[in-house]
Symmetry: C2
């Protein structure tokens, strides 16, 4: 099958550090190539891929300090996809609502993965284009806008080889981990409260976006003593995995309907159970009482800390390998593509030389 | 003629303070209505217009502190234009390159005014869509990208009634004016040098954008003594016009190819000649030796200061009334619309009920 993958341009594919969407697109693209598909990746020019790379800009826009109008590159990218549409059996957009009007112009099967949360503004755009085929990254995400034409849910998948399994967590001292943006949505203030009330050390890491600076200075910074409550700034992949892997538990005390939550599967993959709040996709990702605990309140999370050491760390990893690996993700994407093709053909007739799923 | 005007959403139409594009769109829209056209204005909901208003967002996005994704409103706006296209004989976009792919989807005559400067990124988008009909706001602007399908140049126009004529400039002390963003492109550092070397008082006003903050602190702020070199911050329209009108000359020492330069015609309209650097559209806007002086260097500008009092202030205003009034601008736009219609019809055949220019 000839597939176009259209990635965001902010980070390269795969990203050197942060960049959940670009990470997933990279895994998906390479695995599709390994399975024999002809894949073209529309991404920044510094991307590394097994697919044919169509580079719109020379490097990730985050690194390009001269770019005043990153959106212009997105417009160029979509134009390139339109111009090359005849070369593909299907176009897969990972670039959220701005791609929708362009998708309408394509007379070939198209599908969009909803990597981001919905906002007040973009909801209206999605509503206008609700007949486009969408893939949600959790069933919970579909509840946010029920009217969209969902093909199916495909949970994110990661490569277990990138997350070495840690049999025994650190004990000098044992600690809880928090990893994520220092924003109210991610709940680092809850993580601190859980650690303080349970008497555990907390190791936190994650970036502070400009919009969250005031929150961080007011609610988080005053509580960091770098003994019990530690903040390690932004970490590279290796240090991040180490922080998660050597923790006794990872806290995921989100305060919003997070559509997925990659850090939970990263943690479990390294063997570390997750203590999470019951919001968004958490019930689809954490197996309560097996790979972690799903809690309603800070009180319940404090109780869970005392139970978490009884969970089987190997079970956490097995769980991710079975449900959230790259290969399970790509199998589901292949099934979704076939469904999109069938629906498109049923409306528009089959093409003369029919693409087959296996290359 | 049934015309859609598509305005940026950042400021309302017309803007309460800054916002050159929204000002021009407001003048154009109201004057077209006065001339009997049926005009629909796509703009923010707080806009004030004689036309039918199609509001995509309740208020100017600049005022909407909750909007995280202003671009989503632009996508919605274009979608609305597409859906309503059957109601119009022509769609006039004022929203730069993001509108281009949508314009391609319209099967009716379309035209774009190039209000902004070109950037490295957006140039590539314009090149891709170069066959779209474009109106430049100066002939000089066309030199930046020659390959576009230019319909014609239409210089910006203002309403002389909003710029009271000042017969006698201030003399206690007499001063030079500088009005514009405090950015290197606008050349406030040159204005200061011209004032210091000629021994004149300089009154400056204009905003400091975040991107220009370092330049302002390093190059401009240390020279402000609020006696000879004064900085008055951002001014409202009335104070701005007063600052320009009571000056002996307005300095316009730009360092880039500015496509128009509204402040020059605002100054001349109030009676104040302009001493400008020979860049961008300056030769099309300032009549050298009559309504100001066009200079190559700071030296020449210093010399011009000593000559500028000999220029006839009434002549400056007449010049604007003749060449840069709203009515002269709208006449040229009407001619441009007719040209766009004729070219569209010659390719696509005439509509059954042909729109006529006079309503």
């Amino acid at each position: 099958m000839r597939i176009a993958q259209v990635a965001p341009l902010w980070e390269r594919v795969p990203p050197p550090g942060y960049g959940g969407i670009e990470l997933i697109v990279g895994h998906l693209t390479d695995e599709l190539v390994r399975r024999g598909h002809q894949v073209t990746l529309f991404a920044s020019g510094d991307s590394q891929t097994l697919a044919r790379l169509e580079a719109v800009c020379p490097q990730a826009l985050r690194l390009d300090r001269e770019t005043l109008e990153p959106e212009a590159y997105a417009v160029l990218q979509y134009k390139r996809v339109l111009d090359a549409a005849g070369e593909f059996d299907l176009v897969h957009f990972h670039t959220s609502y701005p791609a929708l009007p362009y998708a309408e112009m394509l007379n070939i099967p198209v599908v969009h993965t909803l990597h981001n949360g919905f906002t007040r503004e973009n909801q209206q755009v999605f509503q206008h284009y609700r007949h486009q085929p969408f893939i949600s990254i959790s069933d919970a995400q579909q509840q946010r806008i029920r009217e969209l034409n969902y093909v199916r849910t495909v949970h994110n998948g990661i490569d277990p080889a990138s997350y070495p399994f840690v049999e025994e967590p650190a004990d000098d001292p044992p600690y809880l981990a928090f990893l994520g943006r220092m924003s109210p949505q991610k709940g680092p203030h809850h993580a601190i409260e859980i650690a303080k009330r349970s008497g555990w050390t907390l190791k936190m890491a994650g970036k502070v976006d400009p919009i969250d600076r005031a929150y961080f200075e007011a609610e988080i910074a005053p509580q960091i003593d770098n003994r019990q409550i530690q903040y390690h700034g932004e970490l590279c992949h290796r240090d991040k995995v180490r922080l998660l892997g050597y923790a006794t538990a990872t806290l995921f005390p989100i305060t919003w309907e997070e559509p997925f939550g990659l850090v939970s599967i990263e943690s479990m993959c390294a063997g570390t159970p997750v203590i999470a709040f019951n919001r968004g996709a958490v019930p689809e990702i954490v197996a309560h009482g097996a790979t972690g605990f799903i809690c309603q309140t800070v009180d319940e999370a404090v109780d869970a800390v005392s139970l978490v050491e009884d969970l089987d760390r190997e079970n956490c990893r097995d769980f991710v390998e079975r449900h959230f690996s790259v290969s399970s993700m790509v199998e589901k994407y292949e099934a979704a593509y076939q469904k999109v093709l069938n629906e498109f053909w049923s409306r528009n007739g089959r093409p003369v030389s029919e693409p087959t799923l296996a290359a």
